[in-house]
């Protein structure tokens, strides 16, 4: 995976590692793979490379291979002409790399992916910026509020995290239709925004709570009002947290299918995820086009993940584990 940003040394044993074993390390190491957390299982420098360590590494890399095979599959299928794939993409007798499938998917007559990607971008960018702004304001408000209603309101917001989109679908469709927001990106953006608010408020509130209180108090004494503190102190200090929230929301909004499905049906306005099912033939499946479209659609979230990996994972951990 060339996309993955974090550089890490490969599991090739360096010759220098085969140094003399520590005194007192005569006991055999616990079996690896069973997940023994004992420090003895770590390949410490200056320790003999043991079978257990080799086994653990082999197993780990096999698992990695197993996990990446499906992705390799669609990538190979997208990159190679149909003729080569009759006996499966894993046949490597003759490998021709061509952009043909991508071109066909991009310019598909009924559901061109190019248009879909463009539409998705038009939706996703405001769907990330808007909730970030609104939720961070709200999160700060909740954190510093002393009003009694804040507790039940916050409980309600947490509860909303569990509500499935199906629960709002029909009335939401009607409301937006009455407002003339069907088939409009504005309607979808507002929906994504509202839907992102509960988790973002919760996440950012918890993030803001980790900032040093005194800095805020210093700003208060320096004459800053609530909004000024928010803008000049809280937001600049929360950039990592905001990056996490943005990375998560960007992918979730991009990956959304259900909301787009009910709110956009004008063919030229469909977002990328909506077009993929349309490329699936009724009887015959054109795997070249379908996989190329899939690769195109997956590329954006993978790019976000690769660029903001640290924030992405931290955000996910922070959001769920507090």
């Amino acid at each position: 995976m060339g996309l993955v940003s974090q550089p890490a040394p490969y599991g090739r044993p360096a010759p220098g590692r085969q140094a003399t074993p520590h005194a007192g390390s005569t006991t055999p190491p616990p079996a690896a793979g069973r997940g023994t957390p004992s420090p003895a299982a770590r390949p410490l420098p200056g320790r003999r490379l043991r079978p257990a360590v080799i086994l653990r590494h082999t197993l780990a890399w096999l698992v990695g291979l197993l996990w990446i095979v499906p992705f390799l599959g669609i990538l190979m299928s997208a990159l190679r002409p149909q003729a080569e794939l009759i006996h499966g993409w894993w046949q490597l007798g003759q490998v021709t790399i061509s952009a043909e499938n991508f071109v066909r998917a991009w310019n598909h007559p009924t559901a061109p992916m190019g248009e879909g990607i463009r539409n998705s971008l038009l939706v996703v960018v405001p769907s990330t910026v808007l909730p970030l702004l609104i939720a961070s304001l709200a999160a700060y408000g909740f954190l510093r509020s002393r009003a009694r209603v804040r507790t039940p309101l916050f409980a309600l917001i947490i509860l909303l995290l569990a509500v499935p989109q199906q629960m709002v679908a029909i009335p939401l469709f009607r409301i937006l239709r009455d407002l003339g927001f069907i088939n409009s990106y504005a309607g979808l953006v507002v929906t994504h925004t509202a839907w992102a608010l509960p988790w973002m408020i919760m996440f950012l509130r918890n993030y803001f709570a980790t900032l040093p209180r005194e800095v805020e108090e210093a700003a208060l004494l320096d004459g800053a009002g609530r909004l000024q503190i928010f803008w000049h102190v809280i937001l600049p200090l929360s950039l990592p947290g905001l990056a996490s929230a943005a990375a998560l929301q960007l992918t979730w909004a991009w990956n959304d299918f259900f909301m787009a499905l009910i709110l956009l049906y004008e063919p030229t306005r469909l977002v990328a995820t909506q077009r993929i099912p349309l490329l699936r033939g009724q009887y015959h499946v054109d795997w070249g086009i379908l996989t190329a479209a899939s690769v195109l659609t997956i590329a954006v979230p993978i790019l976000v993940f690769a660029l903001l990996q640290r924030y992405y994972v931290r955000g996910l951990i922070g959001w769920t584990l507090k």
Partner: protein
Amino acid sequence: MDLRGARARLWADPLLLAVPALFLILVLIVYPALQTLGLSFLSKDGAFVGLKNFADVLSDPETLNLARFPAHTPPWGSLVHNAIWILLHLPLTVAIGLGLAILLRDVRGSAILRSIIFLGMVTPMIVGGVIIRFLFDENAGIVNAFLRLAGLQALARSWTAYPDTALLSLILGSVWLWSGFAMVLYSAGLSTIPRDYYEAASVDGASPLQQFWYITVPSLRPVTSVVVAMTILWDLKIFDLVYTATLGGPGGSSMVLALQMYFYGFRALRFNTAAAVATVLSLFTLVVGIAFIRSSRREE
């Protein structure tokens, strides 16, 4: 404290900053959700019919087909399918997530391996559905190539196209996609357990297995409850994956609640029935959500 001061403070309360957010949440989530709840008690003409819609939904074989369960192949009804999904997916997620987290802990290049496994979480589920179909395709699918290689010719076919294997292939695919979530959380959890605990335990003569059981597992309890809650919620809300891979078919054999609601509401235009399905689904997710909040409160 004079009244003027109190009122001034109320108006100055920072909660005012949450007004735009609360407005959007109320208009676009709370209000529609309550309307859906209301719809579920009404007939098509708007007359109050009590629980009739729920009775209809639950007696519909599309939801609950106990005549076929478990002796015959699916369809068994969306409710049963969701339940089976959880029953299979949840233990696998916990076991694989924890196993991978522990396996990758001391492996060189684990950052790369973690990213690979985590890719499933980044993938749009609509693409996830395509990949599942592709994996299990009779000719293009590598799973069937392996089965043939293993001499299991009988099993080599398009799994998503047959009632007896469609649901299973989706569940297996969801394991592949979702394990990264549990792994990342468990990895984070593992890194918070101090090494001293293990060192103290091994000085006390605890075997690696005992250490795992008496130190690792209890320390990870909060993580496990997150993984369990999120996995159940994900399984209940599953939609896109099924939509692209099977569209609930063949013959409803992989139908799930969320998809069923969509079909009722947006294809058959049976809004009230759809609302009843959505309400049932929400009931389940809220139970899980509340149970989770209560358990995490207890731990604090």
